[in-house]
Subunit: 286 residues, 2 copies
């Protein structure tokens, strides 16, 4: 497995693979791998000849009071996990390699980014869209793999790829969960044992909403209230948002008559977690 | 010569060329070709195996009170001129093909775009950067060719290509001029005969500045005043801006101790013309 820190090295690697007629799958990550990341890599491995994984904690997508500095990092562990899965190359650039002095260009996906996490985290999706554009231009993959856990991110990337005519396929992969239902996230390590137990209310409330939907409930307000009510009963949880929005446009909906995203962000102490559910889609994936 | 209107067609054409190991040169234009455009195509032809020219009057780069509707168009003439030069494919998409319903993504190059034409034409460079990103992603050229006449545009594109790691080379080609010095522009057809005569003051004033620079003048203010004075003596001319800025950062400069851009925009009646000169660069090109 190649581990490289420069754009030139990873470009040379991909060019060589391409010149041998191989297809390239790409999994952009911020590292600190959990089973969600590894699932993305396995999916990439199944679908493509060569798999490139980037590990880059992107400062551009963190707000000034967010957790950029303390975001968990463990390169050695990431490298050995990626190797086990059969990843072919890890691209692990420095901040200076990605944003040299004078850097000043950004990619903005409007409309989709002014709600949900875009409201709570101004500039976040601009940072995501910009770094993903850079990574796509560096790696030039045939397919890139994103987790459904970051549903809004996946929709923003899809929109960007379509709008800017990027020549690759975006694959969204279902959220991987702990045994008790908590969606896997590198940020789960921030939780105290009490917060960790309390955080299961997120998946439990989404499951309750799914059952209500399957029993015929189509009123978005009532589904949201069901989720909010369950989270409100958990004293350690502080709701940032619980919303139902259309897929793929993320417009507000009052009745569910097409695929819709039930998305939530909730704080436990200083840790902000997100989770979501796609309703009205055959496979539950975006 | 292929003439196509859809993204799929031009992509197929380029893919086929690439699979035969040919290099691809690209000249993005808004059509209504003059010798400046044809020079770009000839340079592309010399440097690359296959030349693709796009003809697209991009609504995104025109302000609401600008000349999008009356911008001159003559596809038949453009096609025959391109054929004479040996262009291999023309991509001439509709507005709907480039901006389908729901389009919402933009590329912003900050810093470089808040001065000169960026001040007089808010949103212009955002429209340019966005359409050029799309065109680059559609055509995926090895090299793209831009005229030095649009110097700020060329610098913005270079910055964008570097910042977003687009994998191609930007070539800037010297401005082509009429016999009396007027920089070639599709907008020159807007000029009345009197305005056309008056417009020669632009290249004459730039030439005067060049001579002053060559005689040792390094004070930016005095060079600007020289140009402004000559233009002020022409009653049909109304200055939008005359400025000297650093290359490639477009920072204000007071003394010329490195390459600098002397750039101007001047109105003649309702027609706005631009021209420029690079001082302190060995070949006078950006």
């Amino acid at each position: 497995m190649l581990i490289c820190r420069t754009i030139k090295e990873i470009r040379d690697f991909v060019r060589q693979a391409r010149s041998r007629g191989l297809t390239v799958g790409f999994v952009p990550t911020m590292g600190y791998f959990h089973e969600g990341h590894l699932t993305l890599m396995r999916r990439a491995k199944e679908a493509c000849d060569v798999v490139v994984v980037s590990i880059f904690v992107n400062p551009l997508q963190f707000g000034p009071r967010e957790d950029y500095d303390r975001y968990p990092r463990d390169l050695d562990r990431d490298v050995s996990l990626a190797r086990e899965v059969g990843v072919d190359a890890i691209f692990h650039p420095s901040v200076e390699e990605m944003y040299p002095p004078g850097f000043t260009t950004h990619v903005d996906v409007e409309g989709l980014t002014e709600c949900l996490c875009g409201l709570s985290r101004p500039g976040h999706f601009r940072g995501v869209a910009t770094v993903v554009t850079k990574l796509f231009n560096i790696v030039r993959p045939d397919r890139a793999f994103f987790g459904q856990k970051d549903a809004q991110q996946a929709l923003v990337i899809r929109r960007m790829v379509e709008d800017l005519n990027m020549d690759l396929e975006i694959v969204t992969v279902p959220t991987v969960r702990e045994e008790d239902g908590l969606a896997m996230s590198s940020r789960n390590v921030y939780l105290s044992p009490e917060e960790r137990r309390a955080a299961t209310v997120l998946s439990r409330s989404l499951e309750a909403a799914r059952r209500a939907y399957e029993s015929g409930e189509r009123d978005a307000g009532r589904l949201v209230e069901l989720v909010r009510g369950m989270i409100a009963a958990e004293p350690r949880a502080l709701v940032d948002y619980v919303e139902i929005r259309s897929v793929p446009d993320l417009k507000p909906v009052s009745r569910l008559d097409g695929p819709a995203l039930l998305a939530l962000a909730v704080r436990f102490g200083s840790t902000r977690l997100i989770d979501n559910l796609v309703l009205g889609s055959p496979d539950g994936v975006l």
